[in-house]
Every structure is written in structure tokens, then in C-alpha cells.
Amino acid sequence: MKTDIRSASGLRHDPLVRGLGWASALLGVPQVAAPAGFARALGVERPSIRHRSATAAVGVRELAAAAGLLARPHPAWLWGRVGGDLMDLAMLGRALRNHDGRGLGRTVAATAAVTAITATDVYAAVTRTRRSTPMELTATTTVTRPPDEVHAFWSDLTRLPDFMAHLDEVRVTGPRTSHWRVVAPFGRAVEWDAETTQDVPGRLIAWRSVDGADIDNSGEVRFTPAPGDRGTEIRVTLRYDLPGGALGAAAARYFGEEPHQQLDDDLRRFKQIVETGEVVRSEGAPGGKQARGEFPQRPARPLTEDELKEALA
């Protein structure tokens, strides 16, 4: 069993992202190098130690954002900038409330500038995040059945939810079309229509979501005879734009729903069904399909009547 996960990032050559990176750098250098002078420029007449250290800290933050955006661009850095902007606005707001009249004009001007920067950062973060990270998952296994038989099993799309943990239901809606419903992270339901793009008996099945899907996705399963009459090698590739991009993936991982693990386990269950007739259940993992999600598991002892109803539902 082997799974790979890959993600691509086009942010490295994005002019807006690079521009914001350089802006952070230009702001951060004087803040760190001459915090007192920078504070005075914002309207603080006699910067105290607190003013100076706060300014230097903001500078360090800016330099970190600059390094991130320029060296390893990622939407998280843009959201980091948005967070920083909100901090700055809060500080400036406090300065406006508590001002003693001197340098007020400069503080107002600074606040207007930061507001404009915030708007730019929010725009960049939202648009760059929404252009979510394309993700490609692959997994492979071998089953002791001939390719034709394995292909026939897979091509009955309505059976996919029997072994694919995240699939709730697949409904066939036409000769080449189907409707899919999945349980996404945080229990949110996501649905789409898909079309079968290729179906070669004993060789290949490929599908993709049609326009307007919540998550653009496509997938294919290839079947090849295993050497030495050992049945069929199955290679699954799923591609999809994960909502929230890499942030979404990180959040999903945090909740134990790492997609490549799911696909790995999905294929194990497919193998169980093809080779033994059904998904094997234990007392520790009576739900069968959710075995990994249930760790730590219930004790390995018979189920109560209520547990039994739930497990077999």
C-alpha cells in the first residue's frame, strides 16, 4: 500500500504577492533598525521604551512576513499579514483615543494608510486562498482477482460508498453521469455531479466533476494484471481543489481526516470486499468503514444492543 500527496503553488510568481512581500520588507527594516525615528514619524512625539519595543516587534513581524512571502509563498503568510494589519489598526485606534493633540495629523494619516493596506491584504489573501491548492492523491494495492472482474466491481459506482469512507452516496443519474455526496471535514456535506470520461473494461475508469461543483475534482482507476498471475494491480489517482487550499488541508489533517490516509484505507476495504465479500468488522472497530477514525477504539468486547444498532445501521 502506497500513497503520495502533492500540492502545487503558483504564488511564487504572483506580482501582488511579491509586491506585498517587498512592502513588508521596506516597512520592517526601518522599524527594526530605528524604532524611535519610525515612531516619531507616526506622530509619537517622545517615544518611550514601550513605544520603541512595540515598533521593533512589529518590524520583526513584517520581516517574517516578507521572508515568507518572498521565499516560501503561501496564503497563510497573507492571512498573517491581515492579522498584523488588524493589530496595527487596534494600536493606532488606541493612539487616536489617547492622543494629546501633538502629531495627531500624522497618526490619522498613518491610520488611513494602514486601512488601505489592510484592504489590499484582505483582497490578496481571499483571492489567493480561493484559488485553492490543487491536490493529487495516489494509492495502489493488489487484489487476487482478474482485471475484468475488479473493473466490473468498481464500475458499479453506487457501491463506492461501501468502502470509501468520505462518500455518503453515489447515485447514477444517466448513462455517463452520476451525483456524488460526501461528508467533508467538520461534518459539512458537499455534493456534485460527475461524468464518466473513460470506461475501458479491464483497464481504466476515469471521471470528473461537471462545471459548478462545490469542489472541482477528477479521478481515475487503472487496472493492470499483476505479474505471476497474482491478480490485478489497482492504481487510484484523485485530483481535487481542496477548499481553503493548503489551510484547509492542514485543518483536515488536524481533525484526523488526512486525505491520503483515507484513500489508503479505502483501498484496503475495497480489497476486503473483493476478496472476502465484505468489510471486516472487529469489536474495537465495529463500524467497519471508519476504523481509523475511531482511534482510540472502544474496548474489544461484544457490543451492547444500542452499539449494535448503530454499527449495523
Partner: protein, 391 residues
């Protein structure tokens, strides 16, 4: 029903639990007539196997009468009333491993294969009552058990052999036999067996059945060595003798042709400083297993010989004598027993009287006294060799 449950490190308790029901189409429910405590249960008891949950039912050596059969099982194969012995590893019979008779490496019966794969590189079969790493299946130290893929696993007993004669076909007799089988015993071979517990005793019996000229038992418990000597085997007590010298002496300086490690991860060493070194590393989890028997077997075996490992290892060991193994052309063979491969032929040997499995039984207790049985067996009190429990 009553069941013996793991309730934490060094603690088991007979509790009331629900009776099992059919979860998969090819399940059967067995009313257990005899069950046993295995040496490997002690690894669970001692807390050396991860992924135990409080309340897990222990036990993977059991037999009984079929009281319910799932709808996916043909009545020609199995029906209510059949008397069956249940092999401890759950096999599907259909995957590549099962087809190659590597039943304990079955690719389909461990629902927690993803976790087991992280520990072992590839997943292994489900096992009853043996942690969640091997699937989280309820064990057989109970009044009833659910038997998974029953039609592909159980051995039907149709003769009038007693429970005690056939119960050990579930694990320790095939395990001992596989230890000898992997040695590829030739005429004139001297076979040394580390560990004179029940599995070691059966490895000795099997080595003799398979044609060994001389069988040597290595242990520190005098009563266990006496038990081996009573069968005509030569005893070496590692507390009073240096094992390597004793083995050289017994083999004219050649070393045993074949060596069987029937001890595994919780070995003790005759030299206390070496034992303490490994015990300390195990305590801080910088190694999980104490491999004294394995090290000794590799260093003692004659060049070109076989070291056959049936004692259980769970994780990592330190200071494996790789130089001795490599430079002296040793063959290392191992595996959790592929019980289904050996049950029928061993049943034949029992029927012929070539092997008497009952000879290792020293204690018979009701299931309710399982904790006492664990205590006697673990602490080797009252000359305890093997405990059989009756529900």
C-alpha cells in the same frame, strides 16, 4: 456473560459483558468449552504491547461448540452443533498471503491495518484478544466468542478426542511445530530450544517427530527443565551454566545445527548486569524487546545453521549480532504461526499418539479464577507450566 478483561498494566479482571452477536456474514458464535492462557498474553498483561484498551477481552486459544452461524456460511462447511478449534490468527483464505499459506500475514482481516503497517512496514492479520494493533477483536477467555470468517478458519473435531487433547491446536502446538518445521531438520541434527515453556516443549516434541537426533532445552526454571528431561531431552540451566560452553560441550564443539528461540521479547539473562542493561533500555522505551535468547542463539548456532524464532517480538532490539549472522552464513526464519497450515496434520499426529499435548497442562481452573491463573503462570508459582480455563 463472564469474560476475562485487561484492566490495565498487570491487572486482569473477570467482568460481566454482553454476549457476542454476528457482525459479518461469515461470522459464527461459539460457546467456549475450553480456553487457555498463553505466554504471549503475559506480554499484554505486562504492558509491552501498545494499543490495549481497558476492558479488552483477552485470550486467543479457545475451542467450543458452534451455536450460531452467519448467513454467508454454507451449511456444508459449518453448522450449529459443530465442535471446533479456533486458530488464533484470523485468515481470509483469499489474499495472496493466505494463498501462500502465510495465514498470520493475512492482508484482509485487520481493520487497523493502517496502524499495524506503521509498526511493521506491512500489515499483519487480525488476532483474537491481542491488542488493537491486531484488529481489536474480542478474545476467547469468555463464555462465548464471535469467530470471524469462521468457514475459512475453524478446524472441526469429529473424533472423540478430549478438549485438552485438541485445544492447543489453536496456537501453541502449531507454533512449537512451526519453530521446528522452519529448521528444516536433517538426519543427525542437534536442535537447541531456548525456553522450556509450553511452546518450547512442543518445539522439542516437534523437533523429535521431524527427526532430530538430540534435543537440548535451555531455561532457568528447574521444573520446566525436569519436564523436558522426562521426555528424554538434555537440559541446560542458564543460571548455573554458561550456555555457549554447555552447548559446545554437548555438540563436540560444533554448536547446535538448529536453534529455536521460544522466548521472545521478555527474556531474562543469566548475567544480571546484561539483563539490567536491556531492562533499563526497555523501561525508557529506547528498545521495546529484550533479545537475550535471540543473541545467544545466533552466537551459538553452528555455521550455516538455522535460527528459528517463534518467541514474540513486538518492536525494536539493540545489539543484534549481525556479524555472527552474516559471516557464518546463518539463516534466520520467523513468523507468527500460520496455524491453519498445521492444524490438520497435527490433529493426525495427536490421533496417532505421536504427540501428547496434554503433557504440558499443570493447572485447570474455572474461568472465574482467570486472574489467579495469570498470577501463577506469570510468577511461575506452584510449578505452573500451562493453565486451562473452563467457562
Amino acid at each position: 456473560m463472564k469474560a476475562n478483561c485487561w484492566t490495565g498494566r498487570n491487572s486482569v479482571e473477570v467482568q460481566h459483558v454482553p454476549e457476542p452477536s454476528i457482525l459479518n456474514n461469515r461470522d459464527a458464535i461459539v460457546r467456549i468449552t475450553s480456553t487457555a492462557i498463553c505466554g504471549s498474553d503475559l506480554h499484554l498483561l505486562d504492558g509491552y504491547v501498545p494499543t490495549m484498551e481497558k476492558g479488552d477481552i483477552l485470550g486467543h486459544e479457545f475451542m467450543g461448540e458452534v451455536v450460531e452461524v452467519g448467513p454467508g456460511i454454507s451449511h456444508d462447511r459449518l453448522r450449529v452443533g459443530d465442535r471446533v478449534v479456533v486458530p488464533f490468527p484470523i485468515a481470509c483464505g483469499a489474499c495472496a498471503s493466505c494463498r501462500a499459506e502465510l495465514y498470520s500475514c493475512c492482508e484482509n482481516t485487520n481493520p487497523n491495518a493502517g496502524v499495524s503497517e506503521k509498526f511493521f512496514g506491512h500489515p499483519t492479520a487480525g488476532i483474537y484478544g491481542y491488542s488493537h494493533l491486531t484488529g481489536g477483536f474480542a478474545g476467547g477467555q469468555a463464555e462465548y466468542a464471535r469467530v470471524v470468517l469462521a468457514d475459512a478458519n475453524v478446524l472441526k473435531i469429529e473424533s472423540d478426542l478430549s478438549d485438552e487433547q485438541v485445544l492447543f491446536l489453536s496456537d501453541i502446538l502449531p507454533t512449537g511445530y512451526m519453530g521446528a518445521d522452519m529448521c528444516d531438520i536433517q538426519r543427525g541434527d542437534v536442535v537447541a530450544v531456548w525456553g522450556a515453556g509450553p511452546v518450547g516443549q512442543f518445539a522439542m516434541d516437534s523437533a523429535r517427530v521431524l527427526g532430530a537426533e538430540k534435543v537440548i532445552a535451555i531455561d532457568k526454571e528447574a521444573y520446566r527443565l525436569d519436564m523436558a528431561e522426562a521426555q528424554g531431552y538434555t537440559a541446560v540451566n542458564f543460571e548455573s551454566a554458561d550456555v555457549r560452553s554447555a552447548l559446545l560441550d554437548l555438540t563436540g564443539g560444533r554448536g547446535p545445527d538448529k536453534c529455536i528461540d521460544a522466548v521472545g521479547m521478555e527474556a531474562v539473562h543469566g548475567a544480571s548486569h546484561i539483563h539490567l542493561y536491556d531492562r533499563a533500555k526497555q523501561a525508557v522505551r529506547s528498545e521495546t524487546d529484550r533479545p537475550h535468547a535471540l543473541r545467544q542463539a545466533v552466537l551459538s548456532c553452528r555455521s550455516g545453521g538455522v535460527v528459528s524464532v517463534i518467541g514474540v517480538y513486538g518492536g525494536l532490539i539493540d545489539k543484534f549480532p549481525a556479524g555472527a549472522w552474516m559471516n557464518r552464513s546463518l539463516t534466520l526464519r520467523t513468523g507468527q504461526c500460520h496455524v491453519q497450515r498445521y492444524m490438520e496434520p497435527l490433529l493426525g499426529l495427536i490421533e496417532q499418539g505421536a504427540i501428547d499435548p496434554t503433557r504440558v497442562i499443570t493447572h485447570r481452573l474455572p474461568l472465574a479464577e482467570a486472574p489467579t491463573g495469570y498470577d501463577l503462570f506469570k510468577n511461575k508459582q506452584d510449578d505452573c507450566e500451562k493453565v486451562v480455563l473452563s467457562p
